[in-house]
Amino acid sequence: MAEPKKMMDRRRFLKNLGLRATALGAGAVLVQAPSLARATGRPKKYGMVIDTNRCLACHGCTIACTSENNVPDGFYRSWVKIIEKGQYPEVSSHFLPRLCNNCEDAPCLNLCPTGATYRTKEDGVVHVNRDICVGCRICVEACPYGSRFVNPLTNTADKCDFCYHRISKGLEPACVDACTGRARIFGDLNDPSSAVSRYMGGKSTQRLRADLDTKPKIHYLYADEAIMGPDYTQLLARR
């Protein structure tokens, strides 16, 4: 009768050992969690700062983007809006390089019915999965920045993805590479040592349609207010 008692003791021992090991492991994870998070850092947040004072409106970015991404004629992933303001002799020219804002709260992504528009978790870039896009153009309508179009070659939604095929190899987007005045600075907005973070420094930046709270990741420096949004005043003035 002594043997069964011995067996029970061993079982209880193993059970206690297992429980204590689990508790120890869980405790260690809980204690180390913040430091682990610090060590791995926040996920990347790719974005761009565009210094409009440096832009020459040479359209190098538009051409580079078109050739890099095989953008069809009449469509643009990246373009430069140009206005002239004032009357002679007080006239000024303003340029605004435009591209997809890869918004943190992207309306195109929220309204896509099939989930073809998605965001990569590791860097926050908004993509279009051409294999499941049905070409419904809801995202084209949803984008408040006019940054999307339906590519007539693929019949799916198309937009700037910061040249993902390049940045995933450590290169810069084609528009940044081609920018004559070095107006476009690209990088990880979450990394304080990145070129983009350092360039932004403590400066106050502007973002397009900030009122919509889409949290665009394209920041502008020194852009004139008149070029930033749609100009309804001209249409209303015709009244």
């Binding site: 303001k85 896509c112 989930g115 419904c136 309804y232 001209q234």
Partner: protein, 387 residues
């Protein structure tokens, strides 16, 4: 912004979603509205001689909802991937819900229609005739015995259950249309709480007008007994009252919408300008207000006018034109407002899609007419009573 600004270079984006999608939204609101008016009226009358109108108000919307996806599919970049919207489901998108709402709505209309027609179909299947086989097929070979009253009694609970389900989906469908457009937060003309009310009022107006028009058409084309015609004219004259008040409600909703737009910043003021004095002013004042609101209101104002089939049908056609113009104005107009520059966005001509839309509408109308000849819309006892 007080200084003059000249635009040197910009990109024009155009109107992306064209007439086909506008048509699609209008047809869905029409189908939902028709069923809501038809079924709520049944709840009010609860009379057996009202059943033919309930059949019109349930089966015709089913035909519309069965064919309307063609408008959407034809507008897709990849029509062959249409079915993937059922399983590539993205929970934050109203369209993802809409695909299911419209499908379930269509199925519930089909089942409700089945129960509405079933007693007459069983009786017809018993009789010898060229279409007896078709009627047997439509009642799935049911050989149920008994009089029409007994058949009605035996299925009453199921019929009312599916009527309730289809009514629920009809309301959901109209709410979906409103939420769909108001979810575009960058579009000042759509991103309004009034969108749900606009589609609800358009749905009820279009629905009552559609019921009036289709029932008069049915009575003209099908062999409707004289007794049924006189009974139905009474109901149709009362649908005229619903049409009259729904036109008033629609006018009030549009008025509130335009007032709200006036106080929604520059974009909102531009939206109201677009309709009242801008590029869509003619469509707004002529088709929507004069033809779509004022004319049918005058034609349904007096009982003597409402009771005349020709006048009532004319009022119904005018109201339908008005609701179509209203949906197009808000849908295409909302896309005309520029997002990045200073000019109205333009809709590129779509002749192919327009022809497709017109052909589909003709097919839809043809299906209505064929069903009038084939399906037993009238109650069996009325038909047995003869003309």
């Amino acid at each position: 912004m007080d200084q003059s600004v000249q635009y040197i270079y910009w990109v024009q984006h155009g109107v992306t979603l064209g007439y086909l999608i506008g048509w699609y939204l209008w047809l869905i609101s029409l189908a939902e509205g028709t069923h809501i008016v038809a079924h709520l009226s049944w709840l009010y009358y609860r009379s057996d001689d009202y059943r033919p109108l309930e059949k019109v108000g349930t089966f015709q919307p089913f035909i519309i909802l069965a064919l309307v996806p063609l408008f959407l599919v034809a507008d897709l970049g990849h029509p062959e991937r249409f079915y993937t919207m059922f399983y590539n489901w993205h929970w934050t998108s109203p369209v993802a819900y809409g695909v299911y709402i419209i499908t379930l709505c269509m199925l519930s209309y089909a089942i409700h229609s089945y129960y509405l027609f079933r007693p007459e179909l069983i009786i017809r299947a018993r009789q010898a005739g060229p279409l007896a086989g078709l009627y047997r097929l439509l009642v799935l070979g049911s050989q149920e015995q008994g009089s029409r009253e007994e058949l009605l009694q035996s299925q009453r609970r199921r019929e009312r259950f599916w009527a309730g389900v289809s009514l629920f989906f009809s309301f959901l469908g109209l709410i979906y249309l409103g939420i769909l457009l108001s979810s575009f937060k960058g579009r000042v003309m759509w991103s309004s709480s009034m969108m749900v009310f606009i589609f609800a009022s358009v749905g009820v107006t279009g629905g009552s007008a559609f019921l009036i028009l289709l029932t008069h058409l049915k009575n003209l084309l099908a062999r409707t007994p004289a007794k049924s015609i006189s009974q139905q004219r009474h109901y149709l004259a009362e649908f005229g009252i619903i049409l009259k008040y729904s036109l008033l409600a629609q006018a009030a909703v549009w008025f509130v919408y335009l007032v709200l737009m006036q106080y929604t910043g520059t974009g909102g003021r531009l939206a109201s300008y677009l309709l009242m004095d801008g590029p869509r002013a003619f469509q707004f004042w002529f088709f929507q207000v004069a033809v779509g609101l004022a004319l049918p209101f005058l034609l349904t104002l007096f009982r003597s006018l409402r009771e005349k089939p020709l006048v009532a049908s004319l009022a119904a056609v005018a109201a339908l034109v008005g609701t179509l113009a209203g949906v197009m104005n808000v849908f295409l107009g909302g896309q005309s407002l520029p997002m990045t520059h200073f000019r109205w966005e333009q809709l590129a001509p779509e002749p192919g899609k327009m022809i497709f839309g017109i052909v589909t509408m003709v097919v839809m109308f043809g299906v209505f007419l064929v069903t009038y000849r084939i399906l037993p819309y009238e109650n069996a006892d009325a038909q047995e009573g003869g003309v």
